[in-house]
Structures are given as C-alpha cells and as structure tokens.
C-alpha cells in the first residue's frame, strides 16, 4: 500500500522537496542548538519554555481533534464520515510525531530522553503525557492502517481492531487532558491554575483539528478527484463552529473570574496578553497585537463559517477555517504557554522573543509533520480513489 506514495504528479514532488528543504535548514539549526545548548533560543531563566513547548501544546489539540471524526463514525454510525475518518486518524499521527519532536527539541539533554522510561515517575504529569502520547500514536497507526489496508484489499476490517478503535476515543480526550494537567497543577502560576484549562484545551482542539482537516479536504477537492461530500462538510462546520464557540465561552469565564474577583495574580497575565503590563517605567506588551487578533479572527471565523455553509461557498469555508485555525494557534500556540511565565513568580516581567535558529527548528518540525501527513494522505486518497473507479 505504501507504494502509492512513490507515484505522484510533479506538484506532489515539488511540495515534498520544499518540505525537505525546510527540514534541512532546521536540521542545520538543530546541530547548532545541539552543540551550543538551548541558550541559542530566546528562552531565559524567567521564560523557561518557548515556542517549542507552545507548539507541542497546540499540536496535541490537533491530534485530539481527530476524535471529532472517529466518534461520529464508529459510535454513532454516521456514514457520511466514512471517507474522511482515515484523514482524521492520519492527521493525528502527523500531529503526534510533531509533538514528540517538539519535546525532544526542547530537552536540554535529549540523549537522556529515555530516562523518563528508565526511571518511571507516576507523580509527574510529564511521565503520563509520554504514555498517553505514545499510546495515541500507536492506536492511530494501528487503527488507521489496518482499516485502510482492509479497504485496499476490498474486505471489511477485521473484528479485532474494533476494541482499539473504541479505546482511541477516550484516549484522544486523555492526551489533551494530561497535557492541560502539565500546566494547571502548578502552584504559583495563576494563569494556568484553572480547572477549565483541560475543557478549554479540548474545545479549541475540537475546532482547530477539524478546521485544518477541512482546509486540506478543500485543497484535495481542487487538486484531485477526492471530494468528501457536501453533507460531511456541513457536519464538520457544525462541529467546528460549536467547539469554537465553547472555546470563547471558556475564555470569557477566565476573564470573569480574573477581573470580577479582582485578585492581582489572576489578572496579571491577562493584562499582559491583552492590554500590556506596566512594570516600573516600562510597558510590556509584545503579545498584545497577536492576542487581540486571535479574538477578532476567531469570532469572525465563527460568524463566517455558518455563512459559508448557507451559501455553500468553498472559498469562504476555507477562509473561515483558516481564521479559526490561526486564531487558536495564536491563543494556544503562543499566548497560553508564553503568558504563563509573565510575570514570573517573583513578579518580574521578562519578555521572550524566539531566535532565528529556534524558528528554523520550529518550521522544520512543522515541515516534518506535513511530510508525514502528505505521504499518509497520498496513500489513503489513492486507495479511496482506486476504489471509486
């Protein structure tokens, strides 16, 4: 089946080549980081996690987003998702691969990464995150590949895979819950110390994941014969729209608690992210434009996605999905992790700006994810189209 990835149009090879060149540049940057140390990044004593961990956090959501296709299809027998459920599973694989690479890129001693398994520590949420992420990767490879292979052979998938599919559903919830627990269990970090962090993560995941999937489906529709169908698209709009609204509801709850309770520690980070935080003579506000743009884009995306559905406009649909995806990428892939460090527990304000090498490595990991995604989707879509013909 994998041989399907070896035959493609010129466009396919140009795309792969472009991804490989980004990976090469990032690979070079990583050799610099590996020999110099993490000091080559913009991180500092006060802002100890940067763009690597924030990308990781966001991508766990993209991975968990696959659930929104698996659950309706396998539990509620929603047949319209039959053609795209594999896309959800394969997207989860690519996203988890990126997550694991971002964690490795962030380690000061990557050669010791296996210490997490050699010295298992159940009281650490990072230990559990390692288990749920690797487990989810395994489940999606297994379920996705076995089901697709059966389709390729023209038979129904074997019965034994069904329990693994069912297991993957709560498992998807677990990956984002445990990832939220990395943050929300830390005393002294007020911004993260909120019980709705895991629900908020899940809401944004169930919007951003399917949004990316829908964008890719629309690209596929333009460039190949693969069409996911109008009914599936409409259903995805419902899922993305409501999940995105839930995310904003949770964000509004955070604002209420912080500003109505008027507890300084709870307000500081929101101040920093949305209005700027004054400290001494200096005003610190380098994330403000991004965070405000995130809210505007997210709300506009929600409004537009329903307009796009009623007008059945693919162009508008792609635009609204892009708005929602980028909005949540800013919210989680920038603000959530970086904001948590401002101000520091000793109430110092240190801003963080990623370095060139850091951005190159980040781009390379994204490129790797898209490479994995492209190859997997190439296989899946070739199989589907072959069956259609």
């Amino acid at each position: 089946m994998i041989e399907k990835a070896l035959k493609g149009s010129t466009g396919y090879w140009v795309w792969l080549l472009a991804l490989l060149s980004i990976m090469a540049i990032g690979g070079l940057a990583y050799t610099q980081q590996f020999s110099y140390g993490l000091g080559i990044t913009g991180m500092s004593r006060d802002v100890t996690w940067g763009v690597y961990i924030s990308q990781f956090t966001f991508l766990v959501g993209v991975a968990a987003g696959g659930l929104m296709l698996v659950l309706p299809y396998y539990i509620h027998n929603y047949k319209e998702f039959g053609r795209i459920v594999i896309l959800g599973e394969f997207m989860a694989i690519a996203a988890i691969v990126m997550c694991l690479m971002f964690i490795l890129a962030d380690l000061g001693q990557p050669m010791r990464a296996l210490n997490v398994m050699l010295h298992p520590t159940p009281n650490s949420m990072l230990f559990w995150d390692m288990i749920v992420l690797n487990g989810y990767l395994f489940l999606n490879i297994l379920c996705g590949w076995v089901v697709l292979q059966s389709e390729y052979k023209g038979v129904k998938y074997p019965k034994w895979v069904k329990p693994f599919i069912y297991l993957s559903i709560p498992w998807a919830i677990s990956i984002h819950t445990v990832t939220a627990f990395l943050y929300c269990g830390l005393p002294g970090r007020h911004f993260w110390l909120t019980a709705i962090l895991a629900p908020r993560f899940l809401a944004s995941a169930f919007a951003a994941g399917p949004a990316l999937l829908l964008i890719i489906a629309l690209i596929l529709k333009r460039n190949t014969k693969f069409d996911i169908g109008q009914t599936a698209k409409d259903k995805l709009v419902t899922i993305i729209g409501y999940a995105a609204m839930l995310n904003f509801f949770f964000l509004a709850c955070e604002f209420f608690v912080a500003y109505y309770s008027n507890i300084p520690g709870h307000k500081h980070t929101l101040d920093y992210l949305f209005w700027g935080l004054g400290h001494g003579e200096q005003m610190y506000n380098n994330l403000v434009p991004y965070m405000r743009a995130s809210v505007v884009m997210g709300l506009a995306g929600i409004a537009l996605i329903f307009v796009a559905r009623s007008k059945q406009s693919d162009g508008l649909l792609a635009l609204s999905c892009a708005l929602i995806f980028i909005a949540f990428w800013i919210d989680k892939g920038l603000g959530l992790v970086l904001g948590g460090f401002v101000p520091s527990p000793m109430e110092y304000v240190t801003e963080y700006v990623p370095s060139f090498q850091e951005l190159a490595i980040t781009a390379a990991i994204w490129a790797t994810g898209f490479l994995v995604l492209t190859i997997l989707y190439k296989v899946a879509i070739s199989v589907k189209l072959e069956k259609d013909a």
Binding site: T48, H119, P187
Partner: protein, 269 residues
C-alpha cells in the same frame, strides 16, 4: 433465558462489589484528605531530621556587604558560573527586594526602608516541593533530612521543575558552564575540585550544602554570615537546636505559605 440469568448474576455481582468498594474508596480518600489538611498548621513530620534556615534580614541591613559575602561563598563553593548576562544567569542564592520576595504581601503604609532591605533568597527546600512532584525522572528529589536535591546526571533538561517552582529558585544551564566567554575568561573563575561542575542542559539550584553537611560542616552561606549571626541553620526537629529556639521565640514569615509548600526558610524582617 440462560444467558439472561447469567447477565443478571453478573450485574448483581458487580452491584455488590461496587456497593462495597465505592463507599470505602471514597471513605479512605476523604480520610486521607482530612489528615493532609488538618488545619492551618504545617503537617511536616516531627520525627527525624528536617533542616531549615532562619534569615535575619535586620543583620544584613546592619552589615552592608554581608549578603554578597554569603553569595560569593556559595557560588565559589559550588562552581556556579557567571555568564555576565541576565538571560543565561545561574544563581543559587541572591539578593532581592521585599516586593519581589513577598509579592503577595500588600499593605497601606510601610516603613520606607523596607523596600531597600537586602533580602537573601534561595531554594526554600519545601516540605511539599512542587518541583519534585513535577520532575519526570526523579532527578530532583526530597531527602529524608528535608533537603531537596538534584541529580545532574539524570536530569533531562525539560525544565518542568522550573515552571513548577513558585519561588523562582531554579536555574538552567542554557550553555556550557565549563566554557569561556569571547575574551577567553572562564565562566567559573576558580574551580573548586570538591564539588562537581555541571554540563549544559541541566537544571541546578541550592542544595543546602548537603555535601558539606555530610562531612560535619555547616552550609557555606551560614559560615560566611556566622559572625554577624545573619543566618541560623539547623535541624528544626531537634528541640535543642538554635533554630528551634529562634522559631519558638521570634516572629518569622515564610514566602507564599498559602501554596501549601511548607518552606523551610523563615525570615525575620
């Protein structure tokens, strides 16, 4: 019919098990909870050693340069590198101002000089350390004597402990501390062969001079402040220790005790 009876029996069995197990599980959970938070007093074990330190800030205000002496003693003893910039900074013990050491403490009017006091800050060696909870490899751990230690050879450099520490006590080796700057000046001015240097990519912090305690010495900073009696160090579970006497007779405060970390550092302001 047969299968119905079997289902019924299964269900009945499960219900019985659940009926017994769930309440008792809740019971034991709640009991544990009640024990763990039996009031505002710290619940630390009162048996065995538990090292602690009292920082008499007045003594440091009266003796300018004393805090720097303590910092130097610590940093030269432990081969703490000086990179000369804030971004890469590594510090085990340092001076900070009242508003940063006690940021949650608010008051309408305070003595003006309060905010100018040189307040020594270091790892709190919490009795309930969040950093130890967060570490995925047990590279940071709590010893039986209350000291929160670090294994530099096991640390993977994930910096989860730094996010977890509510006191900003931890530093990371962003670059090689054994290296030299552009002018050829080594980051560790004079290496002390009695204590290991670290490699890049690991976290470090104050270890209450556990290596000195092992050979019967007192911590380097305590020794440096001994003449002025700025730092009182000892086993808080020993009723005859000086620190126990001081804690019983003097009003001291801890940094952010509301977090339930039970710091082992006490301040006389």
């Amino acid at each position: 019919m047969d299968s119905n009876r079997r289902d019924f029996l299964k269900l009945a069995g499960l219900t019985a098990v659940a009926g017994v197990a769930i309440p008792s599980a809740f019971g034991s959970l709640l009991k544990g909870e009640a024990m763990a938070s039996g009031g505002p007093e710290p619940v630390a074990k009162t048996t065995g050693k538990r090292y602690g330190m009292v920082i008499d800030v007045k003594k440091f205000a009266e003796n300018p340069g004393l805090a720097e002496k303590c910092i130097n003693a610590c940093h030269t003893n432990h081969n703490v590198p000086d990179f000369g910039n804030k971004k890469d900074e590594i510090k085990w013990i340092w001076v900070d101002s009242y508003e940063h050491v006690f940021p949650a403490d608010s008051q309408y009017k305070r003595p003006d000089n309060l905010y100018k006091l040189p307040i020594l800050t270091l790892c709190n060696h919490c009795d309930n350390p969040p950093c130890v909870r967060a570490c995925p490899t047990k590279a940071t751990f709590r010893k039986k004597d209350g000291i929160v230690g670090m294994d530099y050879h096991r640390c993977i450099g994930c910096r989860f402990c730094m996010a977890a520490c509510p006191y900003g006590a931890r530093s990371f080796n962003w670059r090689d501390p054994r290296g030299k700057d552009a002018n050829g000046r080594p980051f560790i001015k004079a290496e002390n062969p009695q204590y290991p240097t670290r490699m890049r990519g690991v976290v470090e912090k104050c270890n209450f001079c556990t290596e000195r305690l092992a050979i019967g010495k007192i911590p380097a900073c305590v020794e440096a402040a001994a003449e002025a009696k700025g730092l009182i160090f000892g086993d808080m579970n020993d009723p005859n220790a000086e620190i126990s006497q001081v804690l019983k007779t003097t009003y001291t405060i801890q940094r952010n005790p509301a977090l339930g970390t039970h710091p082992s550092l006490f301040y006389i302001i």
